[in-house]
């Protein structure tokens, strides 16, 4: 394999792993906002315990997800130096906004939320979670703005052999950005809903004594999924006219590119149908007493993750052979490094990410199995004492 093939494979691997963490982070933080708001207003212990239990899973996932994000960020410079050289003035702006306004602040607010548990005023503590959620979505906003530029470059002028930033506003109204951002946000909320449903179902399968706790969680998961999936599908289909206009040859980029797209749509439709069918079964806990749907809910957890990866495959592979559509070819952007160096880093990171995904799985499973605490114990110090 050539350096460009290896670098592409590495980018695909890193991004895919990273995005799995991102989806769950964004999905869970949205649900946590609802839970903690209810706790702060009502003061009911069940909402506090829900915030704590789901918050712990969220923190585990966040802390390990950061690592994949760091590798992701370095990768632009390591393997794709041509991108920064040529388009860094424009593409770099939203990317730097993401690191500064979004990630830098998000992690810091989250840190204070973790260590401020039970030590800060209730409303102040809630405000920190709102800020964390807000900056998390800001992160998605800027990353999608950067990616939208790669799909359909706008707001630039050519200056010699580099691009210059001409109109920053154009980057934020780019149709390939706005339509995709909505799609990604609802995908994350769907992941949150499906995950919460599945984990709650697992506890009912295990005949949990925490009936009230997991009944509420399961309902919240199902309702979230039912509300998010139609919007997800709507935002998905809304992208086809945009693609037809700006990337008419997208479906011909690779002969098999229709397959992941098809599977993604199938999973999306399936989740919509199943979640709406489950809604009436929430009455009098029918779905819990029937038991067999519980198994389907657990099996369902990986599906929205898989669908999201398929979606990205279509979006990114469909852009080829361009890195910046119509302006910079992928093969021209790869760094001048030896293929063997890229191969080495590809092997090292793929191995480490597999380990990381397993660690995430083990730690989350451990937290899930332990269930909600009867006696309140602090969520923090980080994931370590869980």
């Amino acid at each position: 394999m050539s350096a460009v093939d290896l670098a592409r494979l590495q980018f695909a691997t890193t991004t895919s792993f990273h995005f799995l963490f991102v989806l769950l982070t964004l999905g869970l933080v949205t649900l946590l906002v609802v839970m903690q708001t209810r706790f702060t207003i009502t003061g009911a212990p069940v909402h506090e315990r829900m915030t704590r239990f789901w918050g712990r899973i969220y923190v585990i996932n966040y802390a390990l997800g950061i690592v994949t994000g760091i590798v992701m960020e370095f990768q632009f410079g390591l393997n794709w130096s041509g991108l920064a050289t040529y388009a860094g003035d424009v593409f770099g702006a939203p990317l730097a906004m993401e690191t500064l306004i979004a990630f830098f602040l998000e992690s810091t607010f989250l840190g204070l939320w973790i260590f401020g548990w039970g030590r800060l005023n209730r409303w102040l503590h809630l405000a920190l979670l709102y800020l964390t959620a807000l900056t998390a979505f800001a992160s998605a906003f800027w990353i999608m703005a950067a990616n939208g530029f790669l799909q359909h470059p706008v707001g630039y002028r050519v200056d010699g052999n580099v691009l210059r930033l001409d109109d920053f506003g154009a980057l934020l109204t780019n149709p390939t950005f706005t339509s995709a951002l909505t799609h990604v946000v609802f995908a994350a909320i769907t992941v949150g809903g499906v995950f919460m449903t599945g984990v709650s179902a697992y506890h009912f399968i295990k005949r949990t004594p925490e009936v009230d706790f997991f009944r509420r969680s399961l309902r919240m998961g199902v309702v979230t999924t039912a509300l998010a999936t139609p919007a997800l599908i709507g935002a998905g289909f809304a992208q086809f006219p945009v693609i037809a206009k700006f990337q008419p040859d997208k479906t011909e980029a690779a002969p098999w590119i229709g397959a992941p797209l098809g599977f993604m749509i199938l999973i999306g439709m399936g989740l919509t149908m199943v979640s709406w069918l489950t809604l009436p079964l929430l009455v009098k806990d029918a779905v819990i007493r029937m038991r067999f749907p519980l198994y389907l809910m657990v099996i369902g957890i990986p599906f929205p993750f898989v669908a999201a990866i398929f979606g990205w495959m279509f979006r990114e592979i469909g852009r080829q052979p361009w890195l910046v559509y119509g302006l910079l070819r992928t093969e021209d952007a790869v760094s001048h490094v030896d293929a063997s160096q890229i191969l080495l880093s590809l092997i090292v990171f793929t191995f480490l990410f597999l380990v990381l995904a397993c660690v995430d799985w083990v730690l989350i499973a451990r937290a899930v199995r332990r269930g909600p605490d009867v006696a309140p114990a602090p969520v923090s110090p980080m994931v370590v004492t869980l």
Binding site: E73, F74, L95, A96, L100, R164, D166, Q341, L363
Partner: protein, 207 residues
């Protein structure tokens, strides 16, 4: 503009190394010290440093686009070592299964940064050991709570790489003023805000 952005980059890099130094130092000293206590003392600071690194690389990309790629890809294998060490260190600290994985991760990151220092200075590879030694000393100062020495060792960890970096001539490698002006509005207020909130985290967790 040039001075401003070199300062921003310098502050972020110094922030990272000053905060990361005693994390990695703690990891390096694990074979010789009480592991439970050492790691617990590190808790409130854990992950606090990586955000500075991410911000620094973001600024490097946007403000110095013609430099970022050359700098990183020019030391490809060194950064593979640094990043692999980071992944290992962060995962191992959280998993807490085998302490020697924490040690190995810390060793890989610090030797990696040492190799990068040697690369920047065009110095022979044994210079790489400067960084692990400095981190270990800083970690020891932190663990034994010698707070008077702490700012000194923090600076010793923080300064070598930014100083070595300052030997690079950035003329012509920076982004256009249109991009830099826009980013300045964001970068300048955010840094003090993060410092304030991180300070609160430490203050609140030691209560």
């Amino acid at each position: 503009m040039e001075t401003l952005w070199l300062t921003v980059l310098g502050v972020l890099t110094v922030g990272y190394f000053a905060l990361a130094g005693f994390d990695y130092g703690t990891g390096l000293l694990l074979p010789f010290r009480g592991r439970e206590v050492s790691l617990r003392r590190m808790n409130p600071f854990f992950l606090g440093n990586e955000v500075w690194l991410v911000a620094a690389i973001g600024v490097l990309f946007a403000a110095f686009p013609r430099l970022e790629g050359e700098l990183l890809s020019g030391a490809h294998s060194t950064f593979t070592l640094v990043l692999a060490g980071l992944v290992l260190f962060m995962a191992a600290v959280q998993l807490r299964l085998w302490w020697w994985l924490v040690f190995t991760g810390a060793l890989m990151v610090s030797v990696g940064w040492g190799l990068f220092l040697a690369h920047l200075l065009h110095a022979p590879w044994p210079v790489a050991f400067v960084m692990p030694v400095l981190f270990a000393v800083h970690g020891w100062v932190f663990q034994t709570r010698r707070w008077k020495l702490f700012p000194v060792t923090a600076l010793l960890c923080a300064l070598p790489i930014p100083l070595a970096f300052s030997s690079i001539d950035v003329t012509g490698l920076m982004a256009h003023d249109d991009t830099l002006g826009l980013l300045a509005w964001v970068a300048i207020p955010i840094i003090p805000l993060v410092v304030l909130v991180q300070w609160s985290i430490v203050a609140i967790s030691s209560r």
